[in-house]
């Protein structure tokens, strides 16, 4: 029976190795958990993309459940997710506000004209200061806001059919308190 003790180091090693091996398969290390989940939107006052003389403030983003999408013309992935965003807002009626992040406003307006504008409106964050307050470190990123303007979910990376099905739709349903019947991506629905 004393011999059993000899296997303890091996058992410890195997347990440690299993734990560390699992670490390889956890989320993408680039995907940092947001520090702002459960926090209200930061205070800001920035120009509107299509009406630079008018100012958008935090209050303009409060009042209903909405998505806040960080995008830019220099971001190729934003181009790729553009269609998905349009589908989501059209199918569900949930507004998407855009933050044009560290971009040229004139270029941004041309980009939207060319590819379509899924946003209720876009905000010009020229120097990225609103981005820093939101913990943004790249584009695209998407936040889910509840009616009180509290951040409830953050997606680092593009929104697509899979993310909609696995993450965004469940998060929206949790915030709305009801099922979403609309199907922005026909053929890709179904609970996982």
């Amino acid at each position: 029976m004393r011999r059993a003790w000899l296997f303890v180091p091996l058992a410890v090693f195997v347990a440690l190795a299993a734990l560390l091996l699992r670490g390889f398969y956890l989320d993408d290390p680039h995907d940092l958990p947001s520090a702002l989940i459960g926090e209200p939107l930061p205070r800001f006052e920035l120009p509107r993309l299509h009406a630079p003389e008018t100012r958008v403030t935090t209050a303009d983003l409060e009042g209903r459940v909405a998505l806040l999408n960080v995008w830019a013309t220099w971001c190729p992935t934003c181009r790729a997710e553009h269609d998905a965003l349009a589908r989501i807002t059209e199918a569900t009626g949930i507004p998407i506000y855009g933050i044009n992040y560290k971009d040229d406003p004139a270029e941004a307006r041309r980009w939207l004209e060319r590819y379509g504008d899924p946003y209720a409106f876009s905000i010009v964050d020229r120097d990225g200061s609103l981005g820093i307050d939101l913990g943004v470190y790249g584009a695209p990123e998407t936040f889910l806001l509840d009616a009180a303007g509290v951040i409830r979910y953050k997606r680092v990376g593009d929104v697509n059919a899979r993310i909609w099905r696995d993450e965004l739709k469940p998060a929206l349903e949790a915030v709305l308190g009801r099922r979403i019947e609309a199907a922005p991506f026909p053929g890709v629905e179904g609970r996982s």
């Binding site: 520090a35 939101l134 790249g138």
Partner: protein
């Protein structure tokens, strides 16, 4: 001459390596401010680049955050205030040292605990070995004399069972 060239080349290479990859030019009012900036920017992690600090990263977000730290240093904020500002927005990841919370106690103390266990095991093994050695310790002078006498008696008597005479008594 060759040796001196090699040493000079090495020294230059090392000096270059210690400079940050980024080349912003920030002006400071005092050496203390400059030291504070350098200290923070070397200890804060770039959120986009995983294993790089803010000082060494070329990513745009790192440049933005360097500028933010610079602004706060010039405003006279303390290290703690600047760290908290960034942690509130980017989470614990941006600090190389995770805060001590119930969740991170395993991370902080785990290695120490493992080390203590390992040391304990070694001590236990050594102690067991020393006890075993005690049982085969060299004989004392008195014990040696008794064995010598017993062997001598066995040779004299020519008996197979050394150490006892015909009556079975030890001599």
């Amino acid at each position: 001459m060759r040796v001196r060239c090699i040493v000079a080349a090495l020294a230059l290479a090392l000096a270059a390596a210690s400079a940050g990859a980024a080349i912003d030019v920030y002006e400071f009012e005092s050496a203390e401010e400059q030291r504070q900036f350098k200290r923070l920017v070397e200890e804060l992690r770039c959120p986009k680049c995983l294993n790089t600090n803010l000082a060494g990263s070329d990513a745009p977000i790192a440049a933005d955050l360097r500028r933010q730290v610079y602004r706060m240093v010039r405003e006279g904020r303390t290290d703690a205030e600047i760290r908290r500002y960034l942690r509130e927005r980017y989470g614990d990841f941006i600090l190389y040292e995770p805060r001590l919370t119930p969740a991170t106690t395993l991370l902080w103390f785990g290695p120490l605990v493992l080390l203590a266990i390992g040391a304990g095991v070694i001590v236990a093994i050594l102690r067991r070995r020393r006890r075993a050695e005690g049982e085969t310790a060299p004989l004392s002078a008195d014990e040696q004399a008794r064995i010598a006498a017993a062997l001598a008696a066995a040779e004299r008597d020519g008996e197979p069972d050394a150490g006892a005479d015909r009556d079975g008594r030890a001599s």
